[in-house]
């Protein structure tokens, strides 16, 4: 498990790719950070809640949703909720981008 309370720095928000996830590895766990076309930045655990698992960062991003690359589940990037008819939740993390330096709070 990722220890709560950890902070991960995103060095330069403007360099984050749009339309695909950037993976940060923290103590062997992975976080996928997404910069959307509207400029907002969200972070979720890079792990699908699908029973067969899989990673999420390379999925297709549309608006504030991500389509899981392996099972095509539609997942909210805001809070990690899997959209119907599938069910589940991905762990999501708070991101602060008030400065040019972003911080993810784990």
């Amino acid at each position: 498990m990722i220890a709560t309370g950890t902070q991960v720095k995103i060095s330069n928000i403007k360099e984050l790719p749009v339309g695909i996830g950037q993976v940060y590895r923290v103590n062997n766990e992975e976080i996928a950070v997404f910069r959307l076309s509207n400029g907002k930045v969200y972070a979720i655990e890079n792990k699908s809640p699908h029973p067969k698992g899989g990673r999420l960062a390379d999925g297709l991003v549309s608006g504030e949703y991500l389509f899981c690359p392996i099972h095509d589940w539609k997942i909210s990037l805001i809070d990690g909720t899997v959209q119907a008819p599938d069910q589940g939740k991905v762990k999501s993390f708070q991101v602060d981008i008030s400065n040019n330096e972003g911080v993810i709070y784990l």
């Binding site: 993976v23 390379d58 539609k74």
Partner: protein, 799 residues
């Protein structure tokens, strides 16, 4: 008011349904604790045979997932078995030593497979057919062993046998009686069933009594009473089930065959109730889901102090879940001196229907081959309708007649979903009031169709009938995806006529409902734009993962790398390079692929560019909607039968058409003679060399939709092969739906149409010209990633 404590022993379909019903009536009455021996949340046991038969995945059988328990604040202990109840002090004791007190206790322990009490029944490789664990055992056994024997020719046994056949095993079904399913079918229907199952590959050993299972540690065979034996690597006991009453027996609760309950599901002990397959009600133990759900409803009322009239028993209907077989039976199967039968036996169509009538009332139904009437007849049976003025048998009437108004004439209270007791009216109301438009939504709203699923076609009919014209408009049109009301042809037409050049433009101008589309339309639009405009700049982030990453994602998130090996021809030097890379990057698996090349599996995505650089080979596009491989035989260069140089033909095809975007993947094969070692007959484009010429086959498929290719033409020269293949590919590119393989496309547009277009020299030239323009735009993607730092940063970096 403080919540009372409700403990339930058992986490299966019947029990959890009670909890659902209670929550519906009053969610604040009880705090609920459930103990289940299996390590899963509540799943649909009925669907296990569909799982074995490959029609359903395990996860699709889950009825209530973990979130449901959490959301309803139910404490769930899985993998924990309740051993004993102490009715005096109102506590239960589990196999983990846990003690839990209760105000109310429900025993919903279900049943256990009946294991024949014969010597050897405890050997390895002998199992029942009851839960997910059994299914997993069967799947595992089928990977190692060949021969399975199922004991029991009833519902359960036949479904298990069909599943094992699907898993590739050779299956014998042993049955004690003269006829299969003798409790549900009469001899006529039974022999029709037997014939059909034999055609599906089942072998029957009838009237055989098992006396011993032989073998050492693991079972090797079965010995019968008549002295004969049969070999077996796996034995599935499906001769029946028995109520699981272990805990009740230990606890002073009255047990006969099952735990005895009254009409209110109460046992002889205060505050202890039993329900489902472990319960015996008026001397009947039910094993089908419909009565158990009825019991559940009654028990929920009792527990919520809304005692109504109680449960009075059920007449059950049966069907067999084996693909290709329709049968239904209910009530009395065999005639006696007081009953008369109406029998329709249409051997021509393989249909048999028998209705037994006594005193003008339907008392028994057997339907085989056509079960459309099952709901209607079943209703007559349970409602004891007078049928004296109803006899009417339509003989050889025109197709479709008399069926059109089925839904209109169906009474509002006719049961549609037998498992859940949902009537037509409930479904119609859901459609009208809740705005549901699909079978799945009807299920979400009413529970109809969520157990065995047999009524789904009927629900579909009700949807169509109730929605009328709006159904046709909203559901029958195959739109590109949920983001638009336009279909493929309309979108492509608008891209051309309105000169749309980017995905964003398409979505804006054509008024897409989701601003950035979805995983269905984005890749499709990217393809269509690239097909229409040969200078289109590909939008990488609208491609699905493999095409975006130029590697195949594996289930653990690693990737595989498969370099080009034109025509399946390699060299010692290339093999050495591949071996060096495999070692350097500690590749998890090196495997020959189905397309005659070598795959490296289990690579981290951040290593991909370096792997490609070290390989120094072009991408094999093993992930793409494009030309995959051109499989070749060794041909006349070495083979004594070869009439043509298949290898160089294959290599030339592959080099010419590689990287081309196509609606779906395209595979080719080139064989040097009609022995066809490169399997050209099941390729999208298959070339077969003849003495002095070539045959071209198209629309073949060796995958999901197995299809033999059609002969397109015979030509004399290599040039003609290349020209025709090019024109054919381009015609497919321009007219197919996205994700439509050539096999499906060819069926849709017709071989004659394709032949006609390709026979026209002017059209052929135009097609090839457009193809050449498109081919000019491609760059080698691996090389590009090696050279372009921003691509590496965006797609192949982990921080």
């Amino acid at each position: 008011m403080k919540k009372q404590k409700l403990v339930m022993v058992g986490n299966g379909m019947a029990g959890v349904r009670v909890i659902e019903e209670i929550i519906k009536i009053n969610p604040n009455l009880y705090s609920v604790t459930i103990f289940g021996s299996e390590p899963h949340p509540n799943y649909n046991r009925i669907k296990l045979s569909n799982v074995l038969q490959g029609e359903t995945r395990f996860e699709e059988t889950i009825i209530n997932d973990w979130d449901w328990y959490q959301a309803n604040e139910i404490e769930l202990y899985t993998g924990e078995t309740v051993l004993k109840v102490d009715p005096e002090s109102q506590i239960i004791i589990t196999d983990k030593g846990r003690e839990e007190s209760y105000d109310k206790l429900i025993l919903a322990t279900g049943s256990l497979p009946f294991i024949l009490p014969v010597p050897g029944a405890d050997k390895k490789g002998v199992i029942g057919f009851r839960d997910i664990k059994d299914c997993e055992m069967m799947i595992k056994a089928s990977e190692q062993y060949k021969k399975a024997v199922v004991i029991g020719g009833g519902l359960l046994g036949l479904e298990a046998a069909k599943g094992l056949i699907h898993l590739g095993m050779q299956v014998d079904v042993v049955h004690l009686m003269e006829h299969l399913m003798e409790r549900q079918l009469d001899p006529v229907a039974s022999s029709m069933l037997k014939r059909e199952l034999e055609e599906q590959g089942m072998n029957f050993l009838m009237e055989k009594a098992t006396v011993e299972l032989v073998g050492d540690d693991r079972v090797k065979g079965i010995r019968f009473k008549d002295g004969t034996e049969v070999q077996a690597d796996l034995v599935v006991m499906a001769a029946g089930i028995k109520p699981n009453v272990t805990a009740a027996n230990e606890s002073g609760i009255y047990v006969n065959r099952g735990i005895v309950v009254n009409d209110f599901m109460e046992t002889n002990q205060p505050n202890i109730y039993a329900i489902g397959e472990c319960a015996e009600h008026r001397e009947v133990v039910y094993g089908l889901v419909a009565p158990l759900y009825e019991q559940g409803k009654v028990l929920a009322q009792v527990l919520c102090d809304q005692k109504d009239k109680g449960y009075e028993g059920s007449i059950t209907g049966t069907q067999l879940k084996v693909s290709g077989i329709d049968l239904f039976s209910a009530g009395e199967i065999y005639e006696d001196s007081t009953s008369k039968s109406i029998i329709v036996h249409n051997e021509f169509d393989g249909v048999y229907k028998k209705v037994q009538i006594r005193d003008n009332r339907v008392v028994g139904i057997v339907l085989y081959g056509d079960t459309k009437d099952s709901n209607r007849l079943y209703k007559m049976l349970i409602e004891k309708q007078d049928v004296s003025d109803l006899t009417s048998i339509a003989f050889l009437q025109a197709a479709g007649q008399g069926e059109a108004n089925d839904i209109a004439s169906m009474p509002a209270d006719e049961i549609v979903c037998g498992c859940n007791g949902i009537v037509k009216e409930t479904i119609v109301q859901a459609i009208q009031n809740e705005g549901v438009t699909t079978v799945e939504q009807v299920g979400g709203c009413t529970n109809a169709g969520r157990s065995c699923g047999r009524c789904k076609p009927l629900i579909q009919d009700i949807l169509e009938y109730t929605l009328g014209d709006s159904f046709d408009q909203s559901n029958n049109k195959k739109t590109l995806c949920g983001c638009t009301s336009l279909n493929r042809d309309e979108v492509v037409h608008d891209i051309r006529s309105k000169e749309l050049t980017t995905i964003k433009e398409v979505m804006n101008v054509l008024e897409w409902q989701n601003e950035e589309g979805c995983s269905k339309c984005r890749p499709a639009l990217n393809y269509f734009l690239g097909m229409v405009h040969h200078d289109y700049v590909d939008e990488r982030n609208s491609r699905l993962v493999n095409e975006k990453m130029h590697a195949n994602i594996q289930k653990d998130g690693t990737y595989s790398v498969i370099p080009r090996m034109y025509g399946g021809v390699t060299s010692a030097k290339d093999l050495r390079t591949i071996a060096d890379v495999a070692e350097k990057y500690n590749v998890g698996l090196v495997k020959l692929t189905g397309g005659q090349r070598i795959g490296l599996y289990g690579l981290k995505k951040e290593d991909l560019p370096a792997v490609w650089e070290d390989l120094g080979m072009p991408s094999g596009y093993a992930y793409g909607k494009t030309l995959r491989t051109v499989k070749t035989c060794v041909g006349k260069t070495f083979c004594r039968f070869g009439t043509q140089d298949s290898m160089s033909m294959g290599i030339e095809l592959e080099k010419r058409f590689e990287r081309l975007d196509t609606p779906h993947k395209v595979k080719m094969g080139v064989s040097a003679c009609p022995r066809n070692c490169a399997e050209s007959g099941i390729k999208d484009v298959g070339v077969v060399g003849l003495d002095g010429g070539w045959e071209l086959y198209v629309g073949g498929n060796g995958g999901t939709d197995l299809r033999a290719g059609d002969l397109l033409c015979k030509v004399k020269t290599k040039g003609e092969v290349l020209e025709l293949t090019g024109a054919y590919l381009q015609y497919y590119r321009e007219t197919a739906m996205y994700l439509e393989r050539t096999s499906q496309w060819l069926e849709r547009v017709g071989l004659e149409q394709v032949k006609e277009v390709l026979a026209d020299e002017a059209k052929r030239n135009e097609l090839n010209e457009r193809l050449q323009q498109t081919l000019a735009r491609y760059e080698e993607p691996w090389q590009k990633a090696i050279e372009d730092e921003s691509i590496r940063d965006t797609y192949y970096t982990v921080k």
